[in-house]
């Protein structure tokens, strides 16, 4: 055997076990998989948007459950001066032995009142609160059972009735772009023809770029992935924001029972790729990018929060110290303006004296002669 092959790692195969050069760390992915299955996953999803855009229906369709059994919807007169609330639903779901603790955070009342100034503050406060709690837990002494309640993804529902983003949409996304992964969606997409959907998507992409809103970007796939995967990834990226339809009801189409909406002129199938982007959203959110969303939350948004927090804490400490302690923390800053002036004056006088002395010496010298 040449020296090169000695260090080549190989996939676990039954006949390799006897090979002396096989080290065995190729089983690491399997070990990670086993451990993570045992530990279970958690995911927190925030849904935000005006009432009546289909948020609850979409969440039900995504996770194939019925989260909002007894919902009380307010009347219009009660909503005139409504404030935004935060409601949380946690469910444990299991699939093929993998456990997921799913938390859905809903925001009833957002954008419903007549005066919606700063209606996103409550939501911002909630996200910050989760970060703060995690920060404190992380800096604590006992870190075994940290509960991760940080919001991993925010689905923002844009109504399809307008021509693009409205001022409240822009303000909301701008306020939350640094704190959570914002995924904008076009809701109730069954009121738009395919041509209109395309136009609206372009419009939304333009406006998001124009206003500098940082929505969640899909990570680029590695260059050594196969072509099919790359193609799918490209399609995914080009069809953002997703135009989605949700449904609580099951209808019969061509002998099959699928989730859909029944109209006199046809049946809209939720899982039909030609009808809407629901499948793409589900793939992205659950099947391929769930972990990436969590990572971005941990690595980017939480770290930003943490850095900011620490900065504010230390600057507060410094400000206090300057007034209180007798020994200054920093070296003496620039001397007083008055003393400097005095010094300058004295210097000038000295110079003048020296000059006069020189003159007198010269004179005396001349006189001597």
């Amino acid at each position: 055997m040449t020296a090169n092959t000695r260090y080549r790692s190989r996939v676990l195969r039954s006949d390799d076990v006897e090979e002396k050069e096989y080290v065995g760390f190729a089983t690491l992915p399997n070990q990670v998989h086993r451990k993570s299955v045992k530990k279970g996953f958690d995911f927190t999803l925030l849904v935000a948007g005006e009432s009546g855009l289909g948020k609850s229906t979409l969440v039900n369709s995504l996770f194939l459950t019925d989260l909002h059994k007894d919902r009380k919807l307010l009347n219009a007169e009660e909503r005139i001066s409504q404030t935004v609330e935060i409601t949380k639903h946690t469910v444990d779901i299991e699939e093929k032995g993998v456990k997921l603790k799913l938390t859905i955070v809903d925001t009833p009342g957002f954008g419903d009142a007549v005066n919606n100034t700063e209606c996103w503050r409550t939501i911002e406060g909630y996200i910050d609160h989760q970060f703060e709690q995690y920060f404190r837990d992380e800096s604590g002494l006992n870190r075994k059972n940290i509960q991760d309640n940080r919001v991993h993804c925010c689905l923002y529902f844009i109504p399809p009735f307008g021509h693009g983003l409205r001022p409240v949409d822009i303000e909301f996304m701008k306020a939350l772009q640094e704190k959570v992964n914002v995924v904008p969606l076009i809701s109730k997409a069954d009121c738009l023809t395919p041509g209109e959907i395309k136009k609206l998507k372009e419009r939304l992409r333009e406006e998001i770029e124009k206003h500098g809103i940082k929505i969640y970007q899909f990570p680029d796939c590695d260059s050594d992935e196969d072509e099919e995967f790359k193609q799918k990834d490209k399609e995914l990226k080009e069809s953002t924001p997703f135009a989605v339809i949700g449904s609580n009801a099951v209808v019969e189409v061509k002998g099959q029972r699928v989730r859909g909406r029944l109209y006199p002129w046809g049946i809209v199938e939720v899982e039909n790729q030609a009808h809407c982007d629901f499948v793409k959203l589900r793939t992205m959110l659950i099947r391929t990018h769930m972990n990436d969303l969590k990572e971005v939350t941990c690595d980017v948004h939480y770290e930003n929060y943490r850095a900011q927090c620490i900065q504010t804490m230390t600057s507060k400490v410094n400000a206090e110290n300057r007034v209180e302690s007798p020994i200054p923390l920093f070296p003496m800053p620039t001397p007083d303006a008055d003393t400097e002036k005095l010094i300058k004056m004295k210097d000038e006088e000295l110079r003048r004296m020296q000059q006069m002395l020189q003159k007198m010496q010269q004179q005396m010298h001349e006189q001597d002669l």
Binding site: G52, L73, F161, T193
Partner: protein
């Protein structure tokens, strides 16, 4: 004798007589109609709804033409109204149609003032008509009646209930204009949801006391159809101007991957019902209601504000002219008083400013004097110092000369001495 005759006339009831033959006054309605047709009709529609909800498309679909209008932006600071007037003609009937669009409605973050521009516009149209009516030389024939006859309020198809903004706006508008609420973009609601939605909307309107326009059911010819239509309010409409091939005809429809929604298909949406009600059956009633109910209400409020009353405290009818005269006199007196006040104020102000200016002048003079004196003093001091310096220089020069001469003498004596020494040496 005469009094009894008058009494008879006063107490006589109207008797109906039978005609012996054909007189011909049954052509009166026709005369009226031909006159009206030659004059032309006027109809004004106000569309209120969020940006992008389909107001322009629905109007285009209703009148089967394309009225040009630009898409509105979402970022306007407040609500504007855009009235546009068009002349339409259909089988020798001329219609002057004015469409007023609300631009920017529902886009702002704070929508508390959104209803004001709309209410102001409606009031302005009433005011203009009132002014025209009260003119001395008026031409109501040729007056272009711009009062809003109908307000189509577009409700967003959320499927739950009215939005809070809708409720607030409709409450402000219901006493000023005939409102017909329509559910826009109804192709996003399924049949069962639609039924629930309609019931919810109507119950909310009723419980909040909003009076929407009810189609009249007094006239036998239209009673039946109107009462059925009243039950279908609010109409769920879809608008489209694109033609799509369905079966073997071209119809106006929206083409989706899962089917096509036909605008004129009664089982798809209520567009046909809306068109019937709005244009084919009740258009004249809408105009009448606007004039008889809403305009009269406005007029009464306005005149009462100005202090006109129909009856005296003694229940004698006031003559409008008398009231007008008294009002005018009062107004003129008021005006004169105000003028006097203003003149007084002006005079006072002028006096004050004059006094101030005089003060300032005096101060300026004083300072000038002061500075002059200072300047003088300084000059004198300077002169003295100069003199002293000159003296010093003179004395210094004298001493210099004295010193030089002394040195000169000393040198001479020094130079002579070595000379002498040489002489001595030689000698």
């Amino acid at each position: 004798m005469a009094t009894t005759e008058i009494d008879i006339f006063a107490n006589e009831e109207k008797r109906s007589l039978e005609l012996a033959g054909h007189v011909g006054f049954d052509s009166l309605p026709d005369q009226l109609v031909s006159k009206a047709v030659s004059q032309g009709f006027c109809f004004n529609i106000l569309c209120v709804g969020e940006t992008g909800i389909g107001k322009s498309t629905l109007i285009n679909t209703l009148f089967n033409t394309t009225f040009e209008s630009d898409e509105a932006s979402h970022y306007l600071q407040d609500v504007h109204l855009r009235p546009k007037t068009y002349d339409l003609q259909e089988s020798n009937v001329n219609l002057k149609l004015t469409i007023v669009d609300t631009v920017g409605f529902g886009d702002q973050i704070n929508k508390e003032e959104s209803y004001k521009p709309i209410v102001d516009y409606i009031d302005t149209q009433f005011e203009n008509f009132l002014q025209e009516e009260m003119k001395i030389k008026r031409s109501l024939h040729n007056y272009h009646d711009s009062r809003i006859h109908i307000c189509l309020y577009f409700i967003a198809p959320t499927g739950h209930s009215l939005k809070s903004l809708d409720l607030v706006t409709m409450k402000k508008l219901d006493s000023k204009v005939n409102i017909i609420p329509v559910i826009a973009k109804a192709d996003t609601i399924s049949k069962s949801e639609l039924h629930k939605f309609k019931i919810k909307i109507m119950s909310e309107l009723v419980s909040n006391g909003v009076q929407i326009y009810q189609f009249p059911t007094e006239d036998e010819a239209v009673t039946e159809i109107n009462s059925t239509m009243n039950a279908h309010l609010p109409f769920a409409v879809i608008g489209s101007v694109e033609q799509v091939k369905v079966g073997n005809k071209m119809v106006r429809a929206r083409l989706y991957p899962w089917g096509s929604v036909q605008v004129e298909n009664e089982s798809h949406c209520d567009f046909v019902k809306l068109r019937e009600m709005l244009l084919r059956v009740n258009i004249e009633d809408l105009r009448e209601q606007t004039h008889a109910r809403h305009y009269e209400l406005y007029r009464r409020c306005k005149l009462e504000e100005m202090g006109f009353k129909d009856t005296d405290p003694d229940s004698q009818p006031f003559s409008l002219q008398q009231t007008y005269e008294t009002k005018r006199k009062e107004f003129l007196v008021e005006l004169q008083r105000k003028e006097e006040e203003m003149r007084q104020m002006f005079v006072n102000k002028v006096k004050e400013t004059e006094v101030e200016l005089k003060e300032k002048e005096r101060e300026l003079h004083e300072r000038f004097e002061q500075l002059k004196r200072m300047h003088h003093d300084e000059k004198r001091n300077l002169e003295e110092k100069r003199r002293e310096l000159e003296e010093e220089m003179n004395s210094f020069n004298r001493r210099k000369v004295a010193a030089e001469t002394l040195m000169g003498q000393a040198l001479q004596s020094c130079s002579q001495q070595p000379f002498k020494k040489d002489k001595d040496k030689k000698n």
